[in-house]
Symmetry: D2
Subunit: 459 residues, 4 copies
């Protein structure tokens, strides 16, 4: 699946506690989850007295220079990388959101989505509160400020008011709070960093910092870090954990550990089960780079077929790439991906992609292979058919545009212009992932209440 | 008075209604009041449906490009140029502040200051509201959203809750609201622009747009513009008008009309009265560029003395100017201002400056003239002694740092290292300006309640 | 005369020898002559071993950051600020030009113009040499490399081959060479800077560095600085000195000393002689900012008329200023300059400008004053009529476009739409400036051979 | 082989003839060979009258915007992407070099190296020519301008004067010249692009433009394109062709065709021959991303071992990436490359890299794998030992720093800290590549005279 074709609203968060130069570790931790969001980045630090913030549109590298990080002294940091949905690329929506208040300032960064956010917002707006952006960070900030009691109690109440699946990290002047949604849809892990701690949406942040993985934050758990050490508070009743299965399929880096299981290993298992069903005798297997590589290599091995590298990705596409003419714009895909004619010409190919969302990538890769002379293209998808929209951070997967909702498999095969098409069965897929996984986009069983989105799902 | 030595929190606002490409007219209108604030700029436009915003740190030119303005379609615009006080140069404080709400979004830009802002904020924060910055725009936005009724009523109530002196412009999707504070401390004028209207803190915006000056907005007046035309609502009881006298002395451009009176004309009159008191027989008169030029030229003429150009200003100092070495940093003034030796060497000079705030400029200009060989320097100030702080938008004029508060005239003379020093008397100054002027910084008589600042004033 | 209306190819050069951090002093020295060229800047330094270069389009500030200057270690520096002519704003033409050669590298920066450059280039090109830009720095570099002997001899021969009027500074790895053209058309002065020396096109560079003015480099003199000290070599036979008179009229900063005479003093004298001829009884005098201020103030004083400030300049126009609409583009002048209605309305005005080149500024200022309500505008020019083009660095003053060449005085009066028009007579002007001044643009008497431009001058 | 660890001076050139908007096609063609050089880019176009140039430091995307390309009208284009060697990242060395001459301007871009460049330069400098940079483009420009006759004859003579291996493209106002060095060390191919032609160092440029591959330019061939069509001139006597074998090993994109042979196919063959020699029974095979993937996958397949993805590359490393602390700087590798612990822990690994230059990458990858828990690491190199420096465009491969020159295989094994180490034998490698390949870096047999570098090679 080619990331640039998908407009999901992904993001990732990190937090650091208890190390000097927290901003600099935060910077690297964000860099290691850059693949979760390239449209905006923010980092806030606390030094026991004040909360400072730096944010901007674009990549981590583009917004954090050495001098800026140096000025951001402090031992607590929270940050976010953000992938924008259409039309909301505004700076207002880049987190952390900082609340300035006489009771104490704080910075909050979130990942995931509150499914009753629209109603909650309207309610709060009716009560006279103002929103300057459209993000959930601002909403939770409101809920916290709005409620009474100690800060922990305020967080508790805020979490009760919102449903859906939203993780957050909050830095006050001298505390760090890390919360994972009660269903555990989104991952957040805890690591030991020197004398302090690091938290991140993906364990790839730990590797870059040579931090030691401790454990995942538990669903519904709030971890509080201050001078007195680390406290764990189970904020919500235990729910059935439902961690996003698409992390394994596409979102996470292969070297990350999600829900205790390595992503690459899951992808390999998917390749294994996919191979068990195979009946086409092709010349070789190729995978759509980069996210389908693990599954494709495993598929090939289990099939006893050669694994070929038939598609080449251009590494130098930046966000500023221009397509001078209309004709060239239409060739967009060609700028990013090339098929190697000498490899594919005249061949029967088993093409593996990780998933099908709107189907644009599958259609174009098939076209590239055919133009390069492929004799047959047999598309295999290393995950089940996505039929339902996601409301936990990927709102833009509009159900109406989902290929798997709109079309039968045969219709998809024709649309993609491939000789055969096979998805992994949901049964097989379940064998590859932890039992505690969310399969909502495949089977429509959502772990939380859909609240504002209830009516948006069709069978 | 050299602007760069002063850290007052000045700013200016503009509004456009009823012309296509309102963003482009707003851009030029802001440019014409750029001297009121160079640290940040924002512009919001409405097209009848949505409110769009563009803002950034730095100059108008640096933040508004042609393509950006083109995308900001709409017939209503509100904007601000901002001069930051130390340590709050954050983007969060650049206005307009945009409120996104299901009842309707709006953008607000303010100039001036609410003197009970701190108490109001704390009260609202205690009630559970969040503030993301420290500006009055966000406070008024809160007050408006917080209150009930029609939008006009909400504005009315918000205005009642805050005291001090704060003008604002608000754009909703299809209305423009323009309010001037009840004491009229800050100016805001109304002009005819094609089939629509333009409002600005200074009439220099009208000149650049070839708009026709109609009148000043009245103290306490709210002007509402929509499809049905222009309505005037007198929101507050009539107060004694008290328009800032320092506008004439220093802030405004000479070609602007404040309170019905041309700024340059006032400065000339100051020069006239100053001359009447003169008893030193100097070789010639020079003025500190640029704001003292009008007064100095008039002073010279009335004195029958030559008006000389003895100080030259470097026009190419940008905000990025670097002082490579410590030694050079200490020469900062020399980079900006040069004395012409051949003019001043061996001469008795009457030096005119417009005002003395902290006294840094007077001290340095005196030093420059002495280094260039001046025999005598007699400093004349074309306004009275500033003894009291301002709480209407210039908070940073800390009373403790005011030369006129700390020192006697003789002490100032010694500190400035000049042969004689004379300020304009308050009596003479009053003859130069409209009766309806605020003289608080000279005489400590504040038009409004000082509220949170009550205890900050010493005699 | 409004600088932005003129497209002459002005420039300025500086050189530093014998101080550590020469790049940082060079930076400030260039900054102090920024008014001589805003389109490009370059600085080269030598540390006894290597020659390093930094250059770019735009202002000094925009191209030289602290870290860059720090890396440019060395005790010799040469630099240039450049004003581009139409269509040659290429980076290739920004100097210094650096020659990399096994015999030793060197960097050269020039100001002025070689009038046989075109023939010389063609000759060299025919002999097989390549030119990468169109500047005289590259030409002289060629001539030096092309000739034989010691470096000083090579410079001597190069100077013999070119005619016209071109100053240059050359830094080798351990020498600095400073040459002034044999006619002394362009000024270059020498100052003492700590234990070393500074050279600059204008003495304003000395003021900023607190360097002590020593003397002007003499026409035809080559100054060589190395470990052994300072040597002066008179390269050319003594010619009749002819230093550009327009430096006094317009180009130089008022605080600079050109040819031993302070610029501001000359302008005052011009005002005096202009006043002697005056017969119009106006209400007051105003000057076109900024370059006509000195003359206008002096004119007013000698006339016994008030000196008024009736035109205000906007200080915040950068090179990036945009004119969103066509209509606004046509108002370009209005963005830069405003007339104060309350001052000029109904008045008889004596307007002083420093010079008339193409006449665009005079025409527009007259229009501004009329639009602001002036009753009569009497234009006085504080220099004689410019009838002849300049070939010493201002090539773009095409004779065909010169108002003084195309029109009679009466025609100009009508074109400018003023009530009366008077230029200073050449006789009076001569009384204001040193005898050793070039008056070619007024009387067509060129000090040097015109060479390639011989046929371009019409009577 | 991790590209960032190597400091070779690679580059690539393209040319377009006979299509409108040649600049826009040139832009895309350059983009497709971006991997050959990321430090500078230049593009020159001709429209039958003038030659325009745009160049800058950094990536294609960063220097060519839509508006710039639009202004560069013309039907001929030549361009280069450049990888700088240490200390010469200056803009002066970015090509094309443009020569401005009265006989006609031209732009030249080169790839490869002239081995007698130093002597030639010195000779020309002694004859009085100046060089502003250190690139071969400027040298050839000199040689062309320096010689007599028609342009084609001048090129012919220039080519005779220089030896080594340097391709170039030259655009005059209405001609395009494309030359490939007489030994064919560097590749340059010709394609049909609409009604015109495209030339590029790699055929990946054709794919992006949907141009049709015609043929390779022949060693010693000069192709001339003008109004009259395409002419081929064999400039040099036929030499034994010797096309760089490292193109197949590392430089080229897998989808490119070099010397008629697809790069990916060669890499697969290398994997096959490498497998034939294997005697270690490892758990699986992994390749160093990205350039070793093809060989590693083929190696695994032929060995009947699983191909694993055990190393993950971070895609978001830009040239501006900062390493905040010293400690983090030392972790540089970790930022770019991660090992997947769950894959490698406790495993016996066959690690495949494409080549060993200085050995830094091999050493670090080995360290990463060991830190991630690998039990055994057996390193296999899919090419022979590099013992000799390259003088055809990779000067920086200093022989003294070559691991294969300094160490025996056993010493390398220890230095890399791997259990076993095996390089491909030269005999096997020869079976994988065309006979007409240059093997100089493996066997010290250089196709051309080494000229200035003769004494730099040791056995």
């Amino acid at each position: 699946m080619d990331q640039t074709q998908v407009v999901q609203d992904s993001s990732g968060i990190i937090a650091i506690y208890g190390v000097e130069q927290a901003s600099q570790y935060g910077y690297l931790a964000l860099h290691a989850i850059q693949h979760r969001g390239q449209d905006g980045v923010g980092l806030a630090v606390s030094d026991g007295k004040n909360v400072k913030i730096q944010k901007g549109l674009g990549l981590v590298n583009e917004n954090m220079s050495g001098p800026i990080l140096e000025q951001m002294t402090g031992y607590i940091a929270v940050g976010q990388v953000r992938m924008a949905t259409d039309g909301d690329s505004a700076l207002e929506n880049v987190q952390p959101t900082v609340v300035r208040a006489h009771q104490g300032s704080f910075a909050i960064a979130t990942t995931g989505m509150i499914t009753d956010a629209v109603s909650l917002r309207e309610e709060l707006e009716d009560d006279g509160l103002i929103f300057q952006g459209t993000g959930d960070g601002e909403l939770i900030a409101h809920l916290i400020q709005w409620t009474d009691g100690k800060f922990v109690d305020k967080i508790r109440q805020a979490c009760k008011m919102g449903t859906g699946a939203c993780n957050f990290v909050i830095a006050t002047k001298d505390h760090l709070y890390v919360y994972r949604d009660r269903y555990g849809v989104h991952s957040i892990s805890m690591g030991k960093l020197k004398d302090g701690y690091v938290f991140s949406s993906e364990t790839s942040s730990f590797t870059i910092l040579q931090a030691e993985y401790i454990r995942d934050v538990k669903p519904g758990e709030l971890i509080v870090l201050d001078e007195n050490g680390v406290r764990s508070i189970q904020l919500d009743d235990t729910k059935k954990q439902a961690t996003c299965a698409m992390e394994y399929v596409y979102f996470a880096r292969p070297d990350s550990i999600i829900n205790g299981v390595n992503v690459h290993q899951v992808r390999k298992l998917c390749g294994y089960y996919l191979a068990k069903q195979e009946d086409v005798d092709a010349d070789f297997v190729i995978g759509t780079p980069d996210s389908a590589s693990s599954a494709a290599a495993s598929f090939a091995r289990n099939l006893g077929k050669p694994y070929e590298i038939g598609l080449i990705k251009n590494r130098y596409i930046g966000s500023t790439f221009i397509h001078p003419t209309q004709e060239q714009r239409e060739q967009g895909m060609r700028v990013r991906l090339n098929a190697i004619s000498s490899v594919v010409r005249g061949k029967k190919i088993l093409l593996v992609d990780d998933s099908v969302v709107y189907g644009l990538t599958a259609r174009r890769v098939s076209q590239l292979l055919h133009e390069a002379g492929a004799k047959e293209v047999h598309l295999r998808i290393a995950s089940p058919i996505i039929k339902y929209p996601c409301f936990y951070g990927y709102e833009k997967t509009e159900q109406k545009r989902l290929a798997g909702f709109n079309y039968t498999e045969e219709e998809m095969r024709q649309y993609f212009n491939v000789d055969t098409l096979r998805f992994m069965s949901l049964e097989d897929f379940k064998k590859c992932i932890p039992e505690t996984s969310c399969l909502a986009c495949f089977n429509g069983v959502y772990p939380s209440q859909l609240a504002d989105y209830e009516r948006k799902v069709e069978e």
